[in-house]
């Protein structure tokens, strides 16, 4: 199985049943899997902040929602995460391709890449860096705790994850 397949299997195993996405080249396979999955509600959205709003509505209806996005989109979503998701204690999962980290070829990705974890920390959002498929067991318990405690949680997926740990 590929990293994307392991990850998608984990997301579904934890009961996630509602997904939206804004693309990143790294998320391509994962998005294709969500699109094909007849057992979940899935739609692309125009902007990550909009996606967080849609997930909030889904969470209010009792769904277990997730957004697939690049870390640039985390920057677009900060107010929604604080004044909607945290304020109302809504559970959701942020599946984030962490660009601007080791292996990045596009310089413009670096400032946001370096800021991403500090944004999550400042917003008090539990997160886990998933370096390889081996970390997905930990991801599972983080997702479970998000729904148990009714709060957001984020998975950060750096280049290592997509390259199956073979990059170095």
């Amino acid at each position: 199985m590929t990293s994307s397949e392991y990850l998608y299997k984990t997301l579904r195993k934890t009961g996630l049943d509602f997904m939206v996405s804004v693309p990143c080249v790294k998320l391509g396979d994962l998005i294709a899997m969500a699109e094909k999955d007849q057992e979940i509600t899935y739609t692309p959205v125009t902007r990550e902040e909009e996606g967080i709003g849609i997930l909030a509505g889904a969470a209010l209806a009792g769904k277990r929602p997730a957004i697939l996005m690049q870390n640039s989109g985390l920057g677009n979503s900060v107010n929604a995460l604080c004044s909607l998701v945290s304020f109302y204690s809504l559970p959701m999962v942020l599946v984030i391709s962490h660009r601007g980290t080791e292996g990045e070829m596009i310089k413009a990705q670096i400032p946001m890449g370096e800021t991403t974890r500090r944004i999550l920390e400042a917003a008090d959002i539990s997160h886990l860096v998933v370096y390889s498929a081996w970390d997905l067991l930990k991801a599972e318990s983080l997702i479970d705790s998000a729904f148990r405690d009714s709060r957001p949680a984020a998975l950060l997926l750096p280049f290592d994850f997509w390259d199956g740990g073979n990059r170095k």
């Binding site: 909009e50 849609i54 509505g57 604080c82």
Partner: protein
């Protein structure tokens, strides 16, 4: 012409069991004053996202969702109209109260004051049933009209006066209470 307060009152007189999501600021406070009910979700932060919250609800459960929006808020999240047009849930209606201004912050003009038509934008985004109303009679029959059409989502722009009746009271519920009773109310049969 109607005021926003009168428009919200007219909408709530027609509402039965529908889920209502309401925009941040004075509109939520007016709704709270006019008819507080467990099936109201008052959005207290995150300006721009009422229509998105409504879309998430409409895609996740079968009951009709009415979103009391504002034109300034919709202008902040125009992409939402595109996503609503693309996903086209039949149980979603946007009621955009357009007073051509940011009413909660001192009536600074919005771009609809220059003639921008959000009903036209919504139609181009694929929300076929998009239209504007302004007379008390039209507003008084709006929810019935939405119930009868029932094909695809609806976007009604309600043109209102650029005045505030009075400063509405604060909402005396905290976010957690609003959420809990709302979730419980929509989980049970109406």
């Amino acid at each position: 012409m109607t005021t926003r307060h009168q428009a919200i009152r007219a909408i709530m007189e027609q509402v039965e069991d529908e889920i209502v999501v309401c925009n941040i600021g004075h509109p939520s406070r007016e709704l709270f004053e006019i008819q507080d009910r467990p099936r109201n979700f008052y959005m207290l932060g995150s300006m721009g996202l009422a229509s998105s919250i409504g879309l998430g609800l409409a895609l996740s459960q079968p009951e009709r969702v009415l979103v009391i929006e504002g034109e300034g808020s919709v202008l902040m999240n125009l992409g939402s109209l595109a996503t609503i047009g693309a996903t086209s849930p039949e149980n979603l209606a946007l009621l955009i109260i357009d007073n051509e201004s940011y009413g909660s912050t001192g009536f600074q003009p919005t771009f609809t004051a220059n003639g921008l038509s959000l009903a036209a934008v919504a139609k181009e985004c694929g929300i076929e049933d998009s239209f504007a109303v302004s007379s008390p009679d039209e507003i008084g029959g709006l929810v019935d009209r939405i119930r009868q059409t029932g094909k695809g989502p609806c976007c009604a722009v309600i043109r209102t006066e650029k005045v505030m009746d009075k400063v509405p009271p604060l909402i005396s519920l905290d976010a957690e209470d609003i959420k809990k009773r709302f979730m419980e109310a929509i989980r049970n049969e109406p």
